[in-house]
């Protein structure tokens, strides 16, 4: 994944959690005490994010130079449901390497935080990967228990494919919009400018041909 995409994803998740922490100084304090790095590896889309605490809240990275204490591996859906509720690993579909204590610390903090994960994830992925992917993931989150494995499989495939192709497309679209806006602004400005020049010339007593008309 292009580092500018993974950086956009980690920046968004970080800001969602830290916004929630503003209203929860007790959790913020608990997070500040977490120095060890937790790595969360999503299998599809392939992306590993790293988190640890700082005095400003959580820090989430797409690349980490420090050693990791615990690594979780699984699908985004499995990872999110494991992290947001203090459930056990068994049957969660998530593999763990390293210290389980670090996972439990995060679980108890995240469980207490008032974050609407479905909404948060769809807005993060919606911004980056287009609204479709975000919607599908968030509906997947609340439905995944009732749905058969075929549905889950389709969903996974969709997310992988979608996420593989959309980022650069989304970037290009956003970029195109900016360009268009600027173009339109420029045209408006040009029109106003022409109008202004016309008026000035009308008012000024010149022998300009246009002004005499």
């Amino acid at each position: 994944m292009d580092p500018s995409i993974s950086a956009a994803i980690t920046a968004s998740i970080e800001s969602i959690i830290n916004t929630a922490l503003k209203y929860d100084p007790a959790s913020k304090q608990k997070i500040a005490e977490i120095n060890d790095v937790l790595a969360i590896e999503s299998t599809a889309p392939a992306l590993t994010i790293y988190c640890h605490g700082t005095s400003d809240g959580v820090r989430i990275m797409s690349h980490c130079e420090a050693p990791t204490a615990t690594q979780l591996t699984g699908t985004p859906l499995a990872l999110i449901s494991l992290l947001k509720k203090p459930t056990t690993l068994a049957g969660s579909g998530v593999e763990l390497a390293g210290s389980v204590g670090l996972l439990q610390r995060w679980q108890s903090i995240l469980n207490n935080l008032d974050i609407d994960w479905e909404d948060a994830i769809s807005s993060v992925l919606g911004d980056i990967a287009g609204p479709m992917a975000g919607k599908i993931i968030s509906s997947g989150l609340s439905w995944s228990k009732q749905q058969g494995s075929e549905q889950t499989h389709k969903l996974k495939e969709y997310i992988t494919e979608e996420l593989k192709v959309t980022p650069s497309k989304a970037e290009l679209v956003a970029f195109g919009d900016t360009v268009n806006e600027i173009k339109m602004d420029a045209e408006r400005l040009q029109a106003r400018f022409t109008e202004l020049v016309r008026k000035t010339q009308k008012n000024a007593p010149t022998n300009n041909k246009d002004a005499q008309e």
Binding site: P3, S4, A8, M61, A174, T178, V179, I182
Partner: protein
Amino acid sequence: MSTTEQSNTEQADKESSQSSEKTHFGYEEVRTEDKADRVAGVFHSVAGKYDLMNDLMSGGVHRLWKRFTIEVSGVRPGNKVLDIAGGTGDLAYKFSKLVGDTGQVILSDINSSMLNVGRDRLIDRGVNNNVQYAQLDAQFLPFADNTFDCVTIAFGLRNVTDKDMALRSILRVLKPGGRLLVLEFSKPQNSLLEKVYDQYSFRLLPFMGKMITNDADSYRYLAESIRMHPDQDTLKGMMDTAGFANTEFYNMTGGIVALHKGIKP
């Protein structure tokens, strides 16, 4: 003798007395000793609106490029960091948070206007105790050997007249094991992206520069200097030649920008 003739003669005198070596200023060829002045002109002219232009030019993506740079720096509490060509201090601000009270960050730039904007901005953002400011040229770093854990230069190397000299100078002031990070425009890895990007930087960039800073020439220079900058492999080779070890690079946004990393052995 008319004034123009006079200045022409002066110019000729100057040329014969000084080295007539040439270097690039964007696509123009200028005498090596003049490049620094021309570059300074560009940045004096854009300093005040630099941040705004940065956001507009890159659609805000420069923040993500810088975010990734900080991650790869691996900077920890207590580290000493030098940010060269640091301009308005984006990297220095983040480093100052990471190194904490026991660390030190030096925000430096050759250009006093850029450095002043940077200093004001950092002070506004409440940074004071662990950041120092220095006006300096990347080619002649005024520090003792083996001083820094990390040196960064973001969107600055392409403006430096003698890049090899700057790389050697950086290597000298790094501690053994310390790392250099060069964030710089590079070669897009996809031909369609390259075309879109060409249109953007050669047409839109100078136009936006004109609208916002009333200075199309400076932004035309930026676009040209991006294209004259060494591509990924060339820059990596230059870092190897300067004496860096484990050199590698990460392409970002399809190679529009690359982050090069090298370690002092």
